[in-house]
Amino acid sequence: MTNNPHPIGEDDLQAFIDGRLSDERQREVEAYFGDHPEQAGQVGRDVEIRNAMRAALQGKAQEAIPQKLRVAALERRMRSRRPAWRSIAAGVVLFVAGTAAGWLVRGIGVPDAANGDGAVVSEAANAHLVFAADRNRPVEIRADEAERLSRWLSKRVGLPVRIADLTPLGYQLLGGRLLASEDGPAGQLMYEDAQKKRLSVYMRATRSDSTAFRFVDADPVSAFYWVDDGLSYAVSAEAGRDVLFEAANAVFDAAHGQAPDG
């Protein structure tokens, strides 16, 4: 820089005030001030104001952190909110009645505009209808390789995909597959009960904020869907709301590394 001095600009003055110039540039700016006393005065005042701002706000950063802003307290409160909405979910979830033909068309009857990611439910239901009906090859990776399946889906979906144990509800994991959606790779886990009725869990990344559970009741496939920590979920089956609700809870808990909730 010594050999190649360049004119002092406004950026230099700002960096001077913030103390971010190299020693060499600092000296050049100081020399410049010798010839420009008025600017030197302004910059000197800017430095005073900067120091006063820092002093005035310093106390805020030195205060003890209020208890309610502690991470443990925040997490407790966030957790405790979930059972609350879950226990009243039966009363507040949205019922979107209609025929399969109606609600499988993307966007129709699915309240996605206000909150969360409603498109996922159409994708999930379509995928459910296609692959739940496939007796020969319902999955790409079988349940006996569950760990590999989880790793693979996590990698492709881009977020941790955890596999819920639905055996308490009578559903055995068959396995899973990767699907394409308009919003990127999606994972589908397929489960089957003793009557060979199938239930699928569909997941893909989303930018939407977390939501409560929502319910779509349709013939033949119903679904609970929600957004949680960057993943959009839909649990679909030809089953009643109670069974789906239990399954949705189990999927939610598995995603949080919890045994069924207490």
Binding site: D46, A56, A61
Partner: protein
């Protein structure tokens, strides 16, 4: 999980200071910080690997402020100043205290964009590049907001007609 708590809590004092500088009052600023932390916790897995946690948290907080808080325009620096600082009981401190109160009031009168820029750089010590990331603007925009913020502050504080904001030698 305690690693996550430690990492986040290390940034809370600065987040509270920035929130206070933005909103100008303690209730709003702690609400803003709480919203920021909850959002950060619920999106913890979406951080960019290797990215600056501080910049990530400040970005969340700044966006929440822009989207949720700034329309409220509920500023109360002048009534709340004593809460933000050590008590100044000695008379000799009075004048300095007035200067600090005046500075905060002037900061509150800046345009939101300029206030964000100068707080991030001059108080929070973010680099110009980090401030650009947090504000979602090019670095040149940060520099011009900074320059304008400083000019505005000089004018607000050194106006002859505002004796309470009078310059302290």
């Amino acid at each position: 999980m305690s690693g996550k708590a430690d990492l986040i809590e290390a940034e809370i004092p600065a987040l509270r200071r920035y929130a206070y500088g933005l909103t100008g009052n303690a209730p709003d600023s702690d609400d803003l910080v709480q919203d920021t932390l909850e959002r950060a916790l619920s999106r913890w897995s979406q951080r960019k690997p290797g990215g600056s946690l501080k910049a990530w948290l400040f970005t969340i907080q700044h966006n929440l402020f822009v989207n949720n808080y700034r329309r409220q325009k509920r500023r109360g620096v002048h009534t709340d100043i004593d809460g933000a600082n050590e008590p100044h009981s000695q008379a000799a401190d009075q004048e300095a205290h007035m200067e600090l109160a005046g500075v905060l009031r002037a900061v509150g009168q800046l345009e939101d964009d300029r206030r964000g820029a100068i707080l991030l750089v001059a108080v929070e010590d973010l680099t110009y590049q980090e401030a650009a990331t947090v504000l979602g603007v090019p670095i040149g925009t940060v520099m011009s907001r900074l320059s304008r913020a400083r000019r505005d502050l000089r004018e607000l504080l050194d106006r002859k007609s505002a004796p309470a904001l009078r310059r302290v030698k």
